[in-house]
Symmetry: C2
Subunit: 544 residues, 2 copies
């Protein structure tokens, strides 16, 4: 017996047509430094058609890569809408990649066109001569004359190129497995690796993002997308917003706490998403200049864990619920999200809020031990997290079809490199990245637990913990501390702060005080560089 249902393919062109018609009045607002410039989804649809026509006129066809080098703004959303709909592949370049990585990924992806924000031209100009496959550069929000084109590359004004084009486009009907976009991991080891999303994976992921056990978007929302569009699809917010008619507020290059709070005051978004660093800055700015931010019903936090103290401060002082989410480039990125379960209140609620969250039905998850055996979801058994599902990567992109880093895949499951445990009711708690966990005398010490606890100390601005070689125990923790301005603290005092929070053998004896923790291009602690500084004898270590 066969199903009688239609074989309708999930398609981002359908999503674009839906957003521009039935949610034509929803808006995209971009912060200008003083106020917002705004277009409707109806106008986004017309602009996307003009862009698709322009790109086709430049020779872009199905499967060709169109890159962006842009902030979160209106034009970037138009590219998100237009490029996959026309069958091309959107490659949002991470403007914060280290130069050699940026050049590597653009060449590896064979980007044909790059759309660049005017404010980023000085940075982009340094890369352009090394980009081997780029034929056209479109300059948005800026003057193309500021860019010197190498031989074989044409530089266009985005607005002038589009002005001449019709505002409708006959988007092709595609197989739902056709590629729609790509992102590269910002991995701290080896070359960045490419993940190629499909229309199907983007569509299903957007359906998950809008559900109440995830971000719960509806047309009542205005979504402040602080996390960059080049960072794991901005956690899926663009397509989720289009799917529900949620309006968008884009910060452009104004990512400091003060303009973020100014745009919040003016537009009053109902939802926001950003990494912990941003929320830390916003909280500090709020402490200095209190402001009502209760228009935010929920904020998603991902990339790394938010110190519980900060989550509490947002809730208790400002009535804003910050929700941990877990994901990665390879998972589109959701992942799990830390809505507490029904009935959890008080300390129990906060314990759930501190986890990386619960998995949705579409993401299967399991914990695998060192010996490859699947461990029980008992909230205790620690091992590597593996996931599978329709928006999870099954391989890395390879231009020539050769397998890339096959060790990251385990019989249909993605090995995440994250170490933790899963509770019987599906909540993930990460204790570390597999390469960061500290192996001391046959037991594991979580660097993340130590960091979180340490960051609750009033004098500590940042804390990062790495394992350093130890003759007796194999490895022991070293804590790198950045003190808050105007504060002092001794190692012994800081260690004392941990005494009632950890077993005695877990207490770190090695301490170092530094001005700044080195960070990766996406703002995570770069422990590889911290380890290198230690190995080079570049850190002044106090041993208790």
């Amino acid at each position: 017996m066969l199903s009688t249902m239609q074989d309708e393919q999930l398609s981002l062109a359908t999503l674009l047509r839906y957003a521009q018609s039935f949610h034509g009045d929803a808006t995209i607002s971009t912060w200008t430094g003083e106020g917002v410039r705004t277009i409707t989804y109806r106008e986004m649809g017309a602009e996307a058609a003009r862009l698709a026509n322009a790109l086709r006129a430049l020779g872009i066809g199905e499967g060709d890569r169109v890159a962006t080098f842009m902030w979160n703004n209106t034009e970037h959303m138009v590219v998100y809408a237009a490029v996959p709909a026309m069958g091309a592949v959107l490659h949002a370049l991470n403007i914060r990649l280290f130069p050699e990585q940026l050049v590597y990924v653009a060449n590896h992806a064979e980007d044909q066109v790059v759309i660049v924000d005017g404010s980023l031209l000085p940075m982009f100009a340094k890369y352009l001569p090394q980009l081997r496959t780029v034929r056209h550069v479109l300059v948005a929000n800026g003057d193309p004359a500021e860019l010197t084109a190498p031989a074989g590359v044409q530089v266009h004004s985005y607005s002038e190129l589009l002005a001449a084009q019709p505002d409708t486009y006959d988007y092709p009907v595609l197989d739902e497995y056709a590629p729609s976009g790509m992102c590269y991991t910002s991995g701290t080891t080896g070359d960045p690796k490419g993940v190629v999303y499909s229309h199907r994976s983007n569509w299903l992921h957007a359906m998950q993002v809008i559900s109440p056990n995830s971000m719960g978007f509806s047309d009542q929302d205005t979504v402040l997308a602080i996390v960059p569009l080049f960072h794991a699809n901005a956690w899926g917010m663009p397509y989720a917003a289009m799917m529900t008619g949620a309006s968008l507020l884009m910060p452009d290059r104004f990512l400091q706490p003060s303009p973020l709070l100014e745009m919040m005051a003016q537009v009053r978004p109902t939802f926001a998403a950003a990494v912990p660093t941003i929320w830390g800055g916003v909280l500090a700015a709020l402490e200095a200049h209190p402001q009502d931010i209760s228009h935010l019903r929920t904020c998603a936090v991902g990339g790394s864990a938010l110190p519980p103290s900060m989550m509490r401060a947002f809730q208790d002082k400002y009535g804003v619920k910050l929700l941990h989410a877990w994901g990665m480039t390879e998972t589109s990125p959701l992942g799990s999200i830390a809505h507490p379960p029904k009935g959890a209140v008080g300390d129990e609620e906060w314990a759930y809020r501190a986890t990386q969250g619960r998995f949705p039905a579409s993401v299967q998850a399991r914990i695998v031990g060192d010996d490859g055996s699947v461990l029980p979801d008992d909230g205790k058994s620690v091992g590597e997290l593996e996931v599978r599902g329709p928006w999870i990567a099954g391989s890395y992109y390879s231009p020539d079809g050769a397998e890339v880093d096959a060790s990251k895949f385990d019989d249909g499951w993605l090995r995440t490199g994250d170490v933790g445990h899963i509770s019987p009711n599906g909540y993930l708690t990460l204790v570390d990245r597999s390469k960061d966990v500290i192996k001391s005398g046959g037991e594991w010490i979580s660097s993340v637990d130590l960091e979180n606890a340490m960051m609750g100390h009033p004098a500590v601005a940042e804390a990062s913990v790495i394992g350093v070689p130890d003759e007796k125990w194999d490895e022991r923790p070293l804590v790198a501390i950045v003190l808050k301005e105007g504060f002092t603290a001794e190692a012994a005092e800081l260690q004392g702060y941990l005494v009632d929070k950890f077993a005695k053998w877990q207490l770190p004896e090695h301490w170092t005080f530094i001005d700044e923790i080195p960070k990766t291009s996406v703002g995570k602690f770069d422990k590889k560089r911290l380890r290198a500084r230690y190995a080079d004898g570049d850190l002044k270590v106090v041993t208790l």
Copy 2:
């Protein structure tokens, strides 16, 4: 370039495993007449495995049809979980079908097994001898000895059969297009027609049901599923509840207002779904015996339109939001749902609430004129509604592969037989079924509009409008009125009530007063029978 995402197939077995593990504490409660009997999703999972093992032992394999003849209760949910997961096809028989239709659909579907509630055995016993393909009957909640088995049919006790089975089952990995369930239309013309759902269509539909612009399920919800599990998949609630860990409250055979209100008082559900008749009864009971029902955040209403007066009464007096939804067996069934758009308040909000609602991104919709041309979504142009999408039927089931009623499909779109218009922002307003619309002097008169207006009159319990032949105008409306007990009203007075609500040429001049409007098996007005009574001269008509 190829996508690198996993080709993970959407599967109801995955959903079952998810519900029973990560939402293992969520519950299914069934009303017993006095209180509830309750199992957890964890127990549902074990019971489903026992059922799958039992069915396999009876020879049921992939693609075989397992039917139910049951109320909404715990055992029915277990069947919903187990049968598709094991690769068999769930056919929930509509216990209210007319006998010849019931026999027709069970034979047409070639049901191998029927699981029957004890309380329905007397009715089922009459059908069983005519069911040609049934080999096994499982009696749940009752005594199998009460059923005399025809030759070749074995009758089992559901509970005894399952007791002997293991509580785990190794569910097969299926293609997502594999059939999962089937429903037959209760069409008032011709034989019922079968729709075969797939794992893919059920999964995607459940993702839509849980989204905030639809029913918005989460694990915080307890869902009172009044609409039968045999009626268009109970509007998708079973799988949506499993997908989010929402708990379920099942009314079993207690569908009268008084027990419904009693179970609400005891369990305090947050969501409920039923046809207008049920809500009308509940409202009348509430007026007699007021009760706090504000634990209901939202109720979905479908099947036909709810009189706006009733929707207002629920909201103003009881603080409960009733939401129109539109769908049909062929659409899984969602459809559209009437959440008002952002910013709509007061009269504007109520105008939106009175529509059939807005379409989600996954359901494409268009209005097609008499000449086959696509009409604009201008909120005025009236024609037949056509829809397409991944959970919309593309054909009707045919055991021998022959095309069934191909006229219902138009180049990849389903012709719904509903007549209406779509607003620029995607709200559907139905004016009639295409066969019920009254064509008077080249203009269309909506029978539904007249019915809705008439049912706002204090003396009117029910009103149904049909077109009757007219020499001059082709057709003119005849209004059949059922008066409320203890009320009287003359035709002229009732017509007067419509004067300021309709154009003069739309005012009906033919009236008849009857004791009851004939209804279909799912409780809709059966206008075919009303027309037959008129044609037979069986109605006493007053013409003004």
